[in-house]
């Protein structure tokens, strides 16, 4: 990873203390949400971050913006570490990095008009100029009408609200956006429109994205590279096409086989890997490789030794003791 990365996250750790409250007594337990994650996002690049719920992917998104305090590790944006940064500095930096949330119903204040929601960042940062005109411009940019500024969020559909959320995030002309599952709450028919909008905006404004999603099909086309997470760790990173063609980690393979093929013949013949069991609790993650409890390839070494991310080909890293380097198309129907 080169030094010209826009965002560079190194050894990020986030542990939550949870209280199990029983009456007035409580027991403290530690949730290992993110355990030593490193990645970079280049200028104009989109990194897809994929994992099941509970894998820690949303926690990473929030740590990157310091909406939650990381336990340890560094988050460098343009070379400056956000962790431990003073409030004023952080506030200034927030002009450059923004977030779009998953739930378009919860991410807009029901009591603010769309116009005041979008102009709120302008007010906070005391941006000079006509805020009304800027709001109209932003609304048009995301495909809504300037007349909508005086409306309230409850009058809009989910897709429209997500566009409003995007307009708000873009108001300060940021360079970098965290997209926290921006389409998973939307109907499938609307998802494509929002994804296309995000792609167009990226081309027009030169944005970089950290695109968080829980399945690979959504991020495949928009991402340059994809990182797959399992229980707080990145298990595989690769360029998007490479990851789909040659998934080296059994978990990636399982995720890929969950995506149906449009061609019924291929669909019937292809090799499918179904995971059994549940994700273990992040309070007591398994020793060694965290995926071993559900892995078909698990051996003794997996429990004893934790695999580290190793490069297996150009830009392709995987953390597995038994990585598979045959392309999916050549893998057998039964393994």
């Amino acid at each position: 990873m080169s030094a010209d990365q826009l965002l560079q996250v190194s050894s990020l750790v986030k542990e939550f203390k949870v209280k199990t409250v029983t009456g007035i007594r409580s027991v403290d337990q530690t949730v290992h949400a993110v355990s030593g994650v490193s990645f970079g996002v280049g200028s104009g690049e989109t990194l897809g971050l994929v994992g099941e719920s509970g894998s820690g992917k949303s926690t990473i998104g929030r740590c990157v913006l310091r909406l939650i305090e990381p336990t340890s590790g560094t988050v460098r944006f343009r070379g400056r570490d956000l962790v431990g940064m003073r409030k004023e500095e952080l506030r200034a930096l927030r002009r450059e990095m923004q977030i779009v949330f998953q739930d378009p119903y919860a991410s807009l204040d029901p009591r603010l008009t769309v116009g005041s929601a979008i102009s709120e960042p302008l007010d906070i940062h005391r941006t000079p100029g006509d805020h009304g005109a800027k709001v109209a411009e932003l609304l048009e940019l995301v495909g809504l009408s300037p007349d909508h500024a005086s409306r309230f969020p409850h009058e809009f559909s989910g897709g429209q609200r997500q566009r409003i959320g995007i307009a708000r995030a873009l108001a300060l002309r940021p360079k970098f956006l965290v997209l926290d599952e921006p389409v998973s709450a939307l109907d499938v028919s609307i998802q494509a429109g929002v994804i296309n909008l995000l792609q167009d905006l990226q081309n027009e404004m030169g944005l970089s994205y950290l695109f968080i999603a829980h399945d690979l099909s959504v991020v495949r086309h928009i991402s340059d590279r994809i990182a797959v997470m399992y229980l707080g760790k990145i298990v595989e990173v690769a360029p998007s096409e490479e990851l789909h063609a040659v998934p080296a980690h059994p978990y990636t393979e399982a995720l890929l086989s969950a995506v149906p093929e449009p061609d019924p013949v291929v669909e019937r013949q292809r090799h499918r890997m179904i995971l059994t069991g549940d994700v273990p609790s992040p309070i007591n993650p398994p020793s060694g490789c965290r995926f071993r409890t559900r892995c078909p390839k698990a051996a003794e070494i997996c429990a004893a030794e934790e695999p580290v991310l190793t490069t297996i080909s150009e830009g392709h890293e995987v953390a597995c003791h038994f990585p598979d380097s045959t392309p999916v198309s050549l893998r057998g129907t039964r393994s």
Binding site: Q98, D109, R111, T113, H125, G143, S145, F152, H154, S157
Partner: protein
Amino acid sequence: MAESELSSLDASVGLTAESLSPGRLAYRRFLTHKAAVVSVFVLALLVLWVLLSPWTARYGVNEQVFDISKGPNQNLPPADFAWFGTDIIGRDVYSRVLYGVRVSLIIGLASAVFSLALGSLIGAVAGLKGGLFDDIVMRVTDVFLAFPFLVALLVVRNMFGAVGWITVIVGQPSSIRFMVFLFAVFGWMGVARVLRAQVLSLKEREFIEAARALGASNARIIIRHLLPNSIGPMLVSLSLGVVGAIVSEATLSLFGYGPDPGTGATSLGLLVAGSKSAVRAGYWWLALYPFAALLVITLCVSFIGDGLRDAFDPKHGGGR
């Protein structure tokens, strides 16, 4: 762009000609609660009547209906010259009820407003920041709310009354200012707990996180997002606070810890307290009219509070 065609289709769907703010939607729902709407009218009428007491009252607060030299004027049943009868020293009960309601409304409103201001601020900060401040607020309110209300009220009343600088600022325990202060000191706790719960649930909503990501300060988040979204619970707390203070004043008066009747002023509480012995002697008008005034106020405010709760309850939709 293909994308903008798609979105303009998307954008025109389902918009009504008129834009309805959440506040207006709540107002419309409130209008469907008949008892609450009637209560608003009744209460407005009563408040107007009381505000206009220079014209609507028939006698002064300590004026006798006629001089004792013209015949006995004490404890007379309702008559032309005194619609609600006269009291033990020949004063007009109707006029005194008007003055009493005026004082009680002032106490109720003032304490409720102070409680609301103090309580919503403390509750919002406790809910938003959590940590030690939250713990302290919760423990303090726990301890106070665990005591029987009147006991806590009386003990604290005496304690404050013994502290010199407090009595310099808010007057002696029997003054109206002191009572407002006392009720506000108790009233904020209920409000703070309600607001804290509200903020804790709002905090989970992403728009608070969004504001933080935009760089909003805690103060801005509280003023611009948390408090406007807590209008419903705040209004309900306000209505409960008004009734609570009026009833507390009456209760204190009943046991002789209310305003000082010697100063000539009166309150609903003093009128009710005065009726305690009159009731046993059979002078029903001395109890009936102050009670009726008190009940009109408490019932109306309760119904209004109920209507407000329904109007702002998210279960009734509109928000989504």
